[in-house]
Symmetry: C2
């Protein structure tokens, strides 16, 4: 599996990816799943990938080759949604070529984020079929891969109106709690921070044994345990001995 997430905030965009790949628990490796393309100084694209590793690598290679070719590419699209369509076509076509031998196991799912010219920065999810959706205004984040364990943290980022740097800490917390629960998600973690109109991506790679991660976990732990201590008690009148019955 994989866990990648992206958030759209007023100040810009936030990306977080794990790096674990596996072909079974006895065959685990580390690959970057956060990629950046900057065809010129008015276009920045960030790609996060989940799914078949061979398909994602071929798609990335084709994107790179297309940048200097005559056809459509990330250097020619005028809007982010056009990049999503282009990426979706590449991805679906690549998976289709392997369908006879691999079935649906060769598909990949992407998050595509970034900014093109004067359009606002945005994040889109590109499905294996090649179609896409964007993050909503109410839920301005996207997840691919193992999305369930860490989702509540992202809700929290939205509820707290987090700024970009705070969102990065929350996203990392979401990642760590997912990695604890699912062995197929693991460190190091790649954080990408995109400041609106900057057309460059600030990046940090966090190792699993980083002292920073330990401090982050300790802070959560401290506040969660304090919350447990403060939880209100059930009203004694609400609790009654249950008669055996079978409804």
């Amino acid at each position: 599996m994989t866990y990648c997430l992206a958030m759209r905030l007023d100040e810009g965009l936030l990306f977080m990816s794990d790096t674990r790949t596996n072909a079974g628990v006895d065959n685990v490796s580390t690959y970057r799943k956060l990629h950046v393309f900057r065809p010129d100084d008015q276009r920045l694209f960030v790609l996060q990938s989940a799914g078949n590793l061979a398909t994602t690598q071929e798609v990335l290679d084709r994107i790179t080759r297309d940048l200097t070719g005559p056809g459509p590419s990330l250097a020619t699209v005028d809007h982010l949604f056009e990049a999503a369509i282009y990426l979706g076509e590449l991805s679906a076509a690549t998976a289709a070529r392997h369908e006879a031998t691999l079935g649906t196991g060769a598909t990949a799912t992407f998050i595509l984020g970034g900014q093109v010219g004067t359009d606002p920065p945005d994040i889109l999810l590109v499905y294996p079929a090649g179609n896409y959706i964007r993050a909503s205004d109410d839920v301005p984040f996207l997840q691919i891969g193992e999305a369930k364990y860490g989702k509540s943290y992202l809700d929290l980022a939205v509820r707290s109106n987090a700024a970009l740097n705070t969102a990065a800490k929350i996203a990392l917390s979401s990642m760590v709690s997912t990695a604890v629960a699912n062995l197929s998600v693991g460190p190091p973690y790649d954080i990408g921070i995109y400041d609106r109109d900057s057309f460059e991506l600030r990046h940090a790679r966090i190792d699993g044994d980083s002292p920073y991660l330990a401090r982050l976990s300790a802070t959560w732990s401290e506040h969660m345990l304090a919350a447990v201590h403060a939880l209100p008690s059930l009203e004694p009148g609400d609790i009654q001995v249950l008669s055996p019955d079978h409804d």
Copy 2:
């Protein structure tokens, strides 16, 4: 779907079940998924169910009929694991009778907890195939149905060495966070509290609009937002502009 959980603590056992059933999002109903059997004053069994509603109801009806019959039943078993084997056989046989028409869609999964005589209280998970596992010493809880969203709360209960009443609050928090994320899990919620050697189950039913639930959520929210505020910042030296590349 469904979400049921059970915890084994020094003081006794804790059970929590939602009540939502559905046959599609346009056909939603409320059924108890927490059941108690007390064949005599030295045997208490708690059953939680997930899966096909017809199968779980038939299994419960058969268990009830067997209590007064000549064959094996919850009134005759000497240990909890024997009850798990008995339940597993009933469940697998019931599902098998519907397999021709329903395929694997007729299966059910159960958590069976309780105490028989002088044996310590315990919780076991009975699979659709009829086999069972018990909760481990390191992870003394079990979940069936939608287990992912609420799992971190149960880890927290273990880490904080929660007493039975505190565990009940944590379990309810786990339930609420699951119901927020998955529409097929919903209130009212049934809490069962079993005090070791009591051979009776204390029970509370919590409605979705209960003021208690609102206070519980507010307490979490307050402490989570405080945690967000307190999270340590990434070292500025750890963040660098990422060059476009394709490894």
